[in-house]
Symmetry: C2
Subunit: 293 residues, 2 copies
């Protein structure tokens, strides 16, 4: 299949290579930063519009909502060059409410649409074991599925356009708040004089058990805050949650609070630490002497 791939960064590059390895024809837009293995595996065209004109399927893997908007509808954007029937698959993690608008515009122009954000990080992208959360019509999802199976393992069709992004935001809310929960519990236990490692051990297997208690709880105890998933990126995702929450009229009090704690750690210079370092905000509050001035 002729696939256009736009956004060949840490995630996009191994995902595109997995598609090429399976025999698909890749088209990518020229950029000085294109990695050598992508140049070897793909046909490089002058710009995104040229890629869109060639492709049956265009996959986007971009940093944030404005980047996707610019590639689709900005100056030189691909929307003008897409042939009717082209399937656009946005695998970026962006705003679910804005995504619905993108999908409506493209579907009205005769294109297909699937939003398909992923989790699993660079490791999952390389191993083709990403979790992929999908929104779109049944027909568009069915068309995209064979490609998803070359990039991921847990592939769920959550609902109509936007539902993939909604699911990803829900995921990032739970992950952040479970990290915050474990952080409050372990800081409390430590300040009360208990050994946090024994507390974590006692709680595993009961109602408090979670993937986050298992993995991020251990990082907090062993003080291993190399990423992993950076606070900077989780701040972006919670911003998506909070701004979509405002659009939708949903109060997200603990998401807002977790975002403040991430900001506090970022202000201390920790934006590129693993998100489990959220615990440092609570520790700092519990440890400081207040000066009178």
């Amino acid at each position: 299949m002729d696939i256009g791939f736009i956004g060949l960064g840490i995630m996009g590059r191994p995902m595109a290579l997995n598609l090429a390895k399976a025999g698909h024809t890749l088209f990518v837009p020229e950029r000085a930063s294109l990695p050598e293995d992508i140049r070897a595996a793909a046909t490089v065209l002058p710009d995104a519009a040229a890629v869109a004109a060639k492709a049956e399927v265009v996959i986007l893997m971009l940093p944030d909502t404005p980047d996707v908007e610019a590639v689709l509808f900005g100056a030189g954007g691909i929307a003008a060059s897409l042939k009717p029937g082209t399937l656009v698959i946005d695998m970026s993690s962006i705003s679910p409410t804005v995504t619905k608008g993108f999908a409506e515009t493209l579907v009205a122009a005769g294109c297909g649409w699937v939003d398909a954000p992923v989790s699993g990080g660079e490791v999952g992208a390389k191993a083709a074991s990403l979790t992929i959360m999908c929104g779109g019509s049944d027909a568009d999802f069915a068309r995209a599925l064979p490609l998803f199976e070359l990039m991921g393992k847990n592939i769920t069709h959550v609902g109509p356009a936007g539902a993939g992004q909604t699911c990803k935001v829900a995921n990032q809310i739970i992950v952040a708040l479970n990290i915050e929960a474990v952080a409050e519990a372990l800081v409390f236990a430590t300040k009360a004089g208990a050994d946090p490692a024994r507390v974590r051990q006692a709680l595993m297997g009961g109602f408090a058990s979670s993937k986050i208690l298992e993995i991020h709880g251990e990082r907090m105890i062993k003080r291993t805050f190399a990423p992993g998933f950076r606070i900077r990126l989780h701040q972006k995702d919670l911003n998506l949650a909070l701004s979509a929450g405002r659009d939708l009229g949903v109060a997200l009090p603990n998401t807002a609070s977790a975002q403040q704690l991430f900001s506090a750690v970022a202000a201390m210079g920790g934006a590129d630490l693993d998100h489990s370092a959220l615990v440092k905000a609570l520790e700092t509050m519990a440890a400081q002497k207040v000066a009178a001035d």
Copy 2:
């Protein structure tokens, strides 16, 4: 062994019966409300002081910190009647900071002390499958362990006196905040137009997975809010967390926020619903029209 058991309510009664079944001799204080099976299995003495004077081990299973304080040190309290060498095991869920004071006083008087709050509810108490989180010296824990093995399955010696209660508070913090996390995510997803059941399914097995997403997430989706564990009781436990947090100088922002949401559901008449009904507070905020007056 001669065991005094004080507090024969929903939890204490089956726990005491499991000890009697194993051949231990039970002494309990007279109360009009004593169940018939306890009268049949135990020797009923006039009051708690008489029970304390007879027992090698006294187990307490009482509702809250002031109840334990009254039984230990109030008018007619047992502290005055305990023989040196008697082991006091407090299986109530009460304040970890206050517990340390109780333990110091009793240990100074020549008694042993283990705080050993449980989780697992009435079902776990009947099945002798409670999780038991223990604080006390190695010697006191070793003395209590054979009794714990008649009442529970996951028995952890977390640390010195108070550490059992600290661990229980940590557990209740994580459980409440994981419920709140799942509630924010599912209300968000629902308002964004996604099917919360499919979102939950997509998130199970990934980083967002937890016992709470599995069990309480399903209760929120299926609208089954019969307890389970009542909001009223979780409010008590978060009050322990917040008041001990204040004593210790630990900020617990999301615990405080979850407590407010429990209060909101209680104000709507939901104090005796399962704690997963916390979701109703967020739903109500997302659903109401604001009047101008």
